[in-house]
């Protein structure tokens, strides 16, 4: 039985540029390898920070000064450092009610109070956010920051409209809190219409920290993430970065590769991703209709995930177990619930499985969910 993995957000192994990366590695280690006897710079290897700046410039029209950019061991380390810098255990933060499980894990590990804010198909509901902020301030527990994924949300795929972005910034100013903008999926785009300006571009004061990653276009195994923050915030975040620095060997190889291939590789990745996303959506149309009227799914304009509403009566643990027995893996909705609730959703990550896996996997998933419906008797129990 060949495993089908819809669980982990990772890129396609077949389009991994092994040979070009190998050539880049050989070249840069031959010429600059001896620099590895040094500890990494505090902000990390400059040529890779330069690429982060150019990525930002490509979408936002201006480069980010290199001293605002700090490389980290994946975006997870960035998020961990940010959380340690601005919260103590017991403090309050605000997230979207549905959010990335890895980030929620970082917050829970810090033992902060996660306050969810409702979302809709466009992302964070800023009207609801105002209510939440008002309530928290009145209760004497103002949030230390608002964590949001405004672009290609994980798992819902939503893109926050410009007006809401502006409102979000206004609210952050009004209630004097920070915003952490997780932009990790920003390069995986299927539609030509442009994404609204980034919060880091729109903000006019020192209130936004941007989290980015090279893992989504190369692979999590390179462990190259970063954050961008103005000096005053950056110093607080760096105060906890006592790890000896971010891996120079990996940074130099990734930089040497991306300096030549960044946009070409992103184009290639996006073509592959779009094909797979389409295969997921087509397969869902074909096989998930029978599950009833409650069921729906996203058709995301970018990112790596389709978010699927499944019937309320689903025994989600049973469905997961049944699927695993058939070699099929996915992440149940509970993993993305800010409150850790057992919600009738699941996420299909389509970066890793190929088209054949997708066409074979989706009907299996439909069967497992069907079999896992609680009967009336069970529902009454």
């Amino acid at each position: 039985m060949r495993e089908i993995n819809f669980a982990v957000g990772r890129p396609d192994p077949l389009s991994f540029p092994s040979d070009a990366l190998a050539a880049a590695a050989a070249k840069i280690i031959s010429s600059r390898g001896a620099e590895l006897v040094n500890y990494p710079d505090g902000r990390g290897y400059e040529p890779l920070r330069n690429i982060a700046s150019q990525r930002f410039e490509r979408s936002e029209g201006r480069p980010v000064p290199l001293d605002e950019i700090v490389l980290t061991s994946g975006s997870m380390q960035a998020l961990q450092l940010i959380t340690e810098a601005f919260t103590e255990p017991g403090d309050t933060i605000v997230t979207e009610s549905i959010s990335y499980g890895g980030s929620l894990g970082v917050f829970r590990n810090r033992q902060v109070q996660i306050v969810p804010t409702p979302i809709d198909k466009q992302g964070l509901d800023t009207g609801e956010l105002e209510t939440v902020l008002k309530r928290l301030v009145a209760a004497g527990t103002p949030p230390k920051f608002i964590y949001t994924i405004p672009t290609h949300h994980n798992p819902t795929g939503s893109i926050l409209p410009l007006e809401r972005r502006k409102r979000l910034l206004e609210l952050a100013r009004e209630y004097d809190t920070l915003i952490v903008d997780d932009h990790c999926y920003g390069d995986i785009v299927f539609q030509s219409e442009s994404v609204p300006s980034n919060l880091y571009q729109l903000v006019e004061d020192d209130r936004v920290v941007y989290v980015g990653s090279f893992s989504k276009i190369l692979g999590p195994g390179v462990r190259q993430g970063y954050f961008m923050a103005p000096e005053v915030l950056q110093q607080r975040i760096l105060a906890n970065k006592i790890d000896g620095g971010t891996n120079t060997l990996s940074s130099m190889i990734v930089a040497e590769y991306l300096v030549n291939y960044l946009w070409e590789h992103i184009r290639e990745i996006n073509n592959v991703m779009k094909e797979r996303k389409n295969a997921v959506v087509e397969s869902l149309e074909e096989h998930f209709g029978v599950l009833g009227e409650e069921v729906w799914w996203t058709n995301p304009p970018g990112g790596m995930f389709v978010w699927v509403r499944i019937p309320t009566a689903t025994d989600t643990r049973k469905a997961l177990r049944l699927a695993a027995k058939r070699g099929l893996y996915y992440t149940p909705g509970q993993g993305f619930s800010a409150m850790g609730e057992d919600i009738p959703f699941l996420r299909i990550a389509y970066g890793f499985p190929n088209i054949e896996d997708i066409r074979r996997g989706v009907p299996i998933l439909a069967e497992c969910i069907k079999t896992a419906q609680r009967g009336d008797k069970e529902l009454a129990a």
Copy 2:
């Protein structure tokens, strides 16, 4: 003015194996690069853990089971995770009175109480340790662990004798505490007589965590450290490792290189290091005698540092400032004092500077120290 750097413990850039490492990188990325689309394994890239096991076997006569070995982003991350696992802020730990500044920084960052134990030329004084442990237990503040560098101590170069190692383990058992054995300099050896067995080899229960590194033989820029710990301790340490895993790209390159060149490279490094250490000691003999009878220095059997006693009347800040003005950098004794005291010592790290730098630098250092002697008047003030 060419800078002379005696400050940082890092290997020789001239003997850095750029070409062999470049070839190893090209080979392994071509063949296994696509694995980088996966998140690293929880314990890290297995072939590199295997090399850690073989290193241990070479000196201790038995390999360590691979599931006891966990790769980390440099040994600093290992130490940070260990500290987070076994202490809370305010807890007590025991260290040698003179210890590695980087480690002390990790402990201070955690806001633990560092209790120093006197050392002599053989390292930790186990008689004094017993007194310290007795006192701490009586005060209701038993230490969470004893942090020690038994082999090629940084900065003193001492090697703890076998009998003291055994006594240290007995005391840890008697007072029910853990031992963290920092073995980062274990491969840099100049003398053929063997170093006593490692604590991780001698221990008979789940009480010792071993910290190792590949940075000292390749370079801190590869960020490859590790710890070894029995299951019960390891699980507690791993609970805080939420960084997405240790850099696979760097691990695979380092492993591919070391699998062929580990012992050859260590031999080469040790030859270079020994030459430099000898140059430091000879230069000290020539130029430091004039500083008076209080002055002495170590002639270490391994490691990367010479520890120098300077006159008590030295204004250590002034000496440092004078040296910096002449482009000479070193670490003053205060950086290694567990209590952060301004002690009349300094450390010369001889891995990075070449022989010419050493012969030029030591007399400059002697002059700066001489100029920085406080007069009788100042001493009386």
